[in-house]
């Protein structure tokens, strides 16, 4: 049970990376900050008075204060139990737009 050759997950599987199943309060605060920064970019472009399809699409996205916590910190996943998984499981999640859900979810 003890000693250098004890049966641990690392000894059996080799490399073990542990990803927490949910975000910590700090990571959630950082996520909110990022969302607000993107909102500011969209708002600035809107204020410039330019009209384009990209802006219409961006304005259709919910703003940070309109989003429920469920959408801020989790995403839809077809494979996950309950169809939701932590947003931090998505590769490059801090630099992607993951605000909306598929219809019905």
């Amino acid at each position: 049970m003890f000693g250098p050759f004890r049966p641990t997950a690392i000894n059996y599987g080799g490399l073990l990376w542990k990803t927490p199943w949910k975000l910590s309060p700090t990571r959630k605060a950082n996520q909110r900050k990022r969302l607000k920064r993107v909102d500011a970019v969209i708002e600035t472009v809107r204020q410039s008075g330019v009209e384009c399809t990209a802006l219409d699409e961006a304005l259709r996205l919910p703003k940070e204060h309109e989003m429920p916590a469920r959408d801020k910190y989790t995403v839809f996943s077809a494979k996950a139990v309950g169809y939701r998984k932590g947003i931090h499981k998505v590769p490059k999640w801090t630099r992607m737009t993951l605000r909306t859900n598929p219809r019905g979810f």
Partner: protein, 127 residues
């Protein structure tokens, strides 16, 4: 009475200065985007990097200026997670070289003349 007059004059001056400030702000419409890359596009799909290249950005914390146009707005919105955008008047637009000169610290001295032309010496002697 004099102090009262002075007070009113200073108040008047303050009023004029704010009024002219407002006027200049109104006269200069904000027609440019000031775009700063805060987050790199490394390891994102190639189109993100290409969009930054077309905006003329090639490193983090670099600032570029572009006019208010639909194509520029579309490019900004494609990389909206990576950049910080501000609307600025045309007078605030700076080239790369101008931005570098503005970043320069004050050298702390002023060249009054060189040994070769001896202008400073002539000035001192009053010639």
């Amino acid at each position: 009475m004099f102090s009262k007059l002075f007070k009113s004059q200073s108040a008047l001056r303050r009023f004029y200065s704010t009024a002219t400030q407002n006027l200049t702000e109104k006269q200069e419409p904000k027609t440019y985007y000031k775009i700063t890359l805060l987050r790199s596009a490394i390891a994102l799909p190639k189109r993100y990097k290409d969009t930054l290249v077309t905006l003329g950005i090639h490193r983090r914390m670099q600032t570029v200026f572009h006019p208010h146009k639909p194509d520029i707005a579309g490019k900004i919105l494609r990389v909206k997670e990576l950049v910080q955008v501000e609307n600025v008047p045309a007078s605030a637009v700076r080239t790369k070289t101008e931005q570098r000169w503005e970043r320069r610290p004050d050298p702390g001295f002023e060249v009054v003349g060189t040994w070769k032309n001896k202008r400073w010496l002539l000035d001192e002697e009053g010639i």
